[in-house]
């Protein structure tokens, strides 16, 4: 027994010694110099900021980091360490990041990573005071719409991106394969799309006319946007919509929409004509258009840009079919400060620098000039070796006035963007509802069930795999059993409160 006691005492002494020693070593760090001041922030102490991003680490990342940290040391007396969560594991690992208790400063977050639900559960640091104080220039750059989108339960929990993106959506299609036919080249309606797909099918070059794969069809979203409707979640694969033209819009779901029959007829016809595979939902190839195996895909303008740069020989064209274009949520790329952050002030100062200083921005985003990228006369960038390093995976950093176009960007893109910018007005049409974020915390059970039913019954139905009448009735029954009425009621209340708040 005595021996035991002695052992415990010994152990305790050792741990305490260890703790005090490590304390000493930390103190020594503070001795290093550094005197630049940002927003009243004391940067005399050198710190290492830790950031988590989601992507696979590129081979050339180490040299880019080394170069970047040199600049950072000089400007802010700190260094940055980026930790990577690979695509294969992000779904499981990302939420655990915040429950593991690991200490890190910054992380990439986004709507599609459940930003608001994580914020509600206390994963992030409240930025009400920190953001304006330590990142004042960044704060000033944001529009009111963007700032409003960073709010959860009345407080800021993220710094949204400064890059405007648009809800424009539509067919990206190859024109090289129809050269020499009497195709009229029009692509403004679903009928035009069908005409194009018919012609592609008739050429019989073994290409699939329409790209659809296991993540579900996007034509249902397209149909709703095409008819001027707005998905309340603000992104694709939603099951609740409103008509933004109404004064006090009421939420509805697919089977309550009067044009759903027309849509299902179209899809049934396209399925019969063989525009896409009968087992498309089992097909995991998501790059059929890109690899020359499909002729048309419905997606956004960024995808169009990427494909055109990679394959100019396809002579790709793009057409936006969204009637009521608005800015996509600015929290679709965002930076969050973890609630375990050791240096939140420095992290925000770092972010401020990054989003206002072209030199720092270039070094962070594109890497080393002459080694990983080049800039041509028009200020467009070109990545020299995409296998080694492309651009940063911290997409939230992208800032409209600092961002460079990639060499080979199709010219009409900027014209499109100007057109959309001119169309969008704060508080009008769909843009009015962009800052509305649904809160599912009181209906998590029902919401989860609805999502699951939606995928199980709607996805096959919208591709014409199941019988139109029977499928729709079954979808309706299952949605009702899953609790769609309660979900709708709760979100409607939130929406009404949001509208009332706006008109104040």
């Amino acid at each position: 027994m005595k021996k035991m006691k002695r052992l415990i005492v010994m152990l305790m002494v050792v741990t305490m010694l260890g703790a005090s020693l490590s304390g000493c070593s930390k103190k020594e760090d503070t001795a290093t110099s550094g005197n630049s001041e940002t927003g009243g922030l004391d940067t005399s102490k050198e710190v290492e900021l830790v950031m988590y991003v989601i992507s696979n680490e590129p081979a050339g990342q180490a040299t880019v980091d080394e170069n970047f940290n040199k600049i950072l040391k000089e400007k802010l007396n700190c260094s940055l360490k980026i930790n990577w969560i690979g695509w294969a594991e992000y779904a499981n690992k990302y939420p655990l990041l915040f429950s593991s208790g690991e200490s890190f400063d910054m992380a990439y977050c986004a709507n599609w990573l459940n930003f608001s639900s994580l914020a509600k559960k206390g994963a992030f640091m409240n930025l009400d005071e920190l953001w304006p104080k330590y990142a004042p220039d960044n704060y000033a750059k944001h529009s009111d719409t963007a700032k409003q989108q960073a709010v959860v339960d009345g407080s800021y929990y993220c710094v949204p991106t400064l890059l405007a993106t648009y809800s424009a959506y539509g067919p990206i299609y190859r024109t090289d394969i129809l050269e020499g036919t009497n195709w009229d080249g029009e692509m403004n309606t679903f009928e035009d799309m069908e005409e194009y797909l018919d012609l592609v099918a008739a050429t019989g070059n073994g290409m699939e006319p329409l790209e659809i794969y296991s993540a579900g069809s996007e034509l249902d979203d397209m149909w709703m946007y095409y008819n001027g409707q707005y998905a309340i979640k603000g992104s694709t694969n939603d099951f609740l919509f409103i008509d933004p033209a109404e004064e006090n819009p009421k939420l509805y779901t697919y089977y309550e929409y009067d044009k759903v029959g027309e849509f299902l007829d179209i899809m049934n016809r396209w399925n019969e004509k063989g525009f896409f595979g009968k087992s498309a939902l089992a097909d995991t190839d998501s790059e059929k258009l890109r690899n020359g195996k499909a002729a048309l895909r419905v997606h956004n303008v960024d995808t169009y840009q990427g494909y055109t740069i990679e394959h100019p020989e396809y002579k790709l064209k793009y057409s936006n079919l969204v009637k009521d274009v608005s800015n996509l949520s600015f929290t679709q790329d965002a930076m969050v400060i973890s609630n375990t952050a050791k240096n939140p002030e420095r992290a925000l100062a770092f972010w401020n620098l990054l989003t206002t200083d072209q030199e720092v921005y270039d070094a962070f985003n594109y890497g080393i000039l002459g080694e990983s990228y080049e800039v041509n006369e028009e200020g467009q960038f070109k990545i020299l070796d995409t296998d080694k390093y492309a651009t940063t995976a911290m997409w939230a950093v992208r800032t409209t006035d600092l961002n460079r176009d990639q060499e080979g960007t199709p010219q009409e893109i900027n014209a499109y963007k100007e057109e959309w910018d001119a169309y969008i007005q704060d508080g009008v049409g769909a843009q009015k509802y962009r800052s509305f974020v649904i809160d599912t915390s009181s209906i998590e059970t029902e919401y989860a069930s609805c999502l699951s039913v939606h995928q199980q019954y709607w996805w096959p139905l919208e591709l014409g795999y199941t019988d139109k009448e029977k499928g729709l009735t079954e979808y309706k029954e299952k949605m009702e059993a899953a609790g769609i009425d309660k979900v709708r009621q709760v979100i409607q209340e939130q929406l009404d409160a949001y509208i009332a708040d706006l008109s104040k």
Partner: protein
């Protein structure tokens, strides 16, 4: 109390080497299996990141509700159990057949090569198997449909026929596991005394009689132990297998959804750790009940064959 303690000390002194040998395992199991069990409280909590596992507020059985709302709970529980029973029977029966066939083979090289070939699928990941399945069964370019077409038959859209999928899944499961499982049976058969076979042969028993009256009875304890071990996992669907083979084909879900895939699908979008913990808790409790019952039944029949 004191008496037990002193007898324990006595035992310890007597068998010190044995205690030392078992200590690492006991510690490992305690650290890896018993301590994490305290995390099960999550199933009854409204988890918040800033309050941690033990600081978050209790919310009763709220987390369990989603499993059973809209009636899916029973369907997926039923599917999970039926799939596991089916897979258990087919893969073990095949493994036994393979083990017997391989041990009866005479040619040394033929024996080694066929064993390796049967073992090989164990190393192929489900992601790749998923691609195999798609390339075999899809409507336009699938191998099966190409064969049907070349024989002048109509193509069959397997992805709209939920009924055939239990068979497909069962086939692939057996294909992947039977080689691995057979190794254990081969080891058991090798352990049988060769004299028994010689004696039987002299008495005029043919090969089937030898298998029936010598091999099978000798490996019966191994079979039952393997079955019991598998029964302990009967409510755990092999997530990878179902997810990769079935994918996003909603039409097949009623026939192929197991607890693990359902939970994954519905909670992907809102990262609720409490609800996920509730699903695991539900699986564990049911597994526990089933293993206890089955073990008791085995005990009734033959006391020596039960696990505990």
């Amino acid at each position: 109390m004191m008496k037990y303690f002193s007898s324990f000390v006595h035992e310890f002194k007597k068998n010190r080497p044995l205690f030392i040998m078992i200590a690492p395992m006991v510690i490992l199991i305690f650290v890896l299996s018993y301590i994490p069990m305290s995390g099960l409280v999550l199933a009854f909590k409204n988890y918040r990141f800033d309050q941690g596992v033990f600081g978050s507020a209790w919310n009763g059985f709220e987390n369990f509700r989603y499993l059973f709302s809209s009636g899916t709970g029973w369907l997926i529980t039923k599917n999970t159990i039926l799939y596991n029973v089916l897979n258990l029977i087919t893969s073990q029966a095949l493994a036994i057949l393979i083990a017997i066939a391989i041990t009866e083979m005479k040619g040394k090289y033929f024996k080694k090569i066929s064993q390796s070939v049967i073992f090989l699928p164990y190393f192929i990941s489900w992601v790749i198997v998923g691609t195999f399945v798609y390339n075999l069964f899809n409507y336009e370019t699938g191998l099966l449909n190409s064969i049907l077409e070349s024989l002048g038959h109509e193509s069959v859209n397997f992805y709209s026929m939920p009924g055939v999928w239990p068979i497909i899944i069962c086939l692939f499961n057996s294909w992947k596991w039977c080689g691995y499982n057979s190794v254990i049976y081969i080891a058991a058969i090798t352990g049988i005394d060769g004299e028994c076979y010689e004696a039987a042969e002299i008495d005029g028993a043919n090969i089937f009689q030898r298998i029936k009256f010598i091999t099978l009875p000798s490996i019966k304890p191994t079979i039952i132990t393997m079955l019991l071990l598998q029964v302990g996992r009967i409510l755990r669907g092999d997530f990878e297998m179902f997810y990769q083979i079935v994918g996003n084909n909603g039409q097949l879900y009623n026939a192929t959804d197991v607890i693990d895939t359902y939970v994954f699908r519905s909670l992907m979008q809102n990262s609720n750790l409490g609800m996920t913990a509730a699903a695991t808790f539900y699986q564990s409790i049911l597994c526990f009940i089933i293993i206890i019952v089955v073990n008791q039944v085995v005990k009734k029949i033959d006391k020596d064959l039960a696990l505990f």
